[in-house]
Subunit: 80 residues, 4 copies
Amino acid sequence: ESANEFQSQKDTLTLKLQDSESRNETLEAQLSDLERRLESSQHEREDFRKSLRSLLELLDSKIFELTELRDTLAKLLEGS
Amino acid sequence: ESANEFQSQKDTLTLKLQDSESRNETLEAQLSDLERRLESSQHEREDFRKSLRSLLELLDSKIFELTELRDTLAKLLEGS
Amino acid sequence: ESANEFQSQKDTLTLKLQDSESRNETLEAQLSDLERRLESSQHEREDFRKSLRSLLELLDSKIFELTELRDTLAKLLEGS
Amino acid sequence: ESANEFQSQKDTLTLKLQDSESRNETLEAQLSDLERRLESSQHEREDFRKSLRSLLELLDSKIFELTELRDTLAKLLEGS
């Protein structure tokens, strides 16, 4: 009886341990997936910001060129 | 002896189960943290995109106004 | 005879004077016309320059607004 | 007496003719000057309009480039 009881306790513990380890594996897979998604999201974000920085530089040069055009018009008006 | 052996096996299983459950808790905490960071990152990204969409609309209106100015200059040149 | 000669000289002078005065009138009319055209041309030119000065001010404000938009984009990129 | 009177009339006519011809020369000089000024003014105006047409073309290209920049921003926002 005592031996049966021990065996029953051991079986219960073994099942619980299997459940817990199975849950661990699931959680680790979810963590890995989430980490990959976060990393991928950060790469996309960095690429996006690089593209925006290029756009900002392009906008700067367009504003500079419009200002040159404006100065040419102002000189034409002064000189005429 | 057999009883001691059973007890020893039970203790080993109990320790392994405690370790595994402790690891589970750590992983669940990490998952929660990562999910919060991903959600927060998505909110920031959505806010950023909203701001950029506002900028795009503003840029549209500036291009429209420069085009009106260009048309006024063209009409002045035709009419003069 | 001498009287006839005098009369002939007087007639010649009178005709020359009439021609000269007629030419004067024509020249004065041409001058008046040219002065009117020059004045009209200067008014048109002044109106044209006024319109261009308005365009220059409008261009200034558009460049200013594009620069504000550029600064907003730069701040978004710094803050994100 | 009659001869004196004739001579006096001839002198008067001669003086009037000299005045009129002198006036003619003055008017012709004024006309030439005005024509030169009008022609010079038209050349300046044509040069001015040519410069403005160049500015208009430059403005067109700047508006085109801003529109390309705007389209790039719109695509970034759609794709992100």
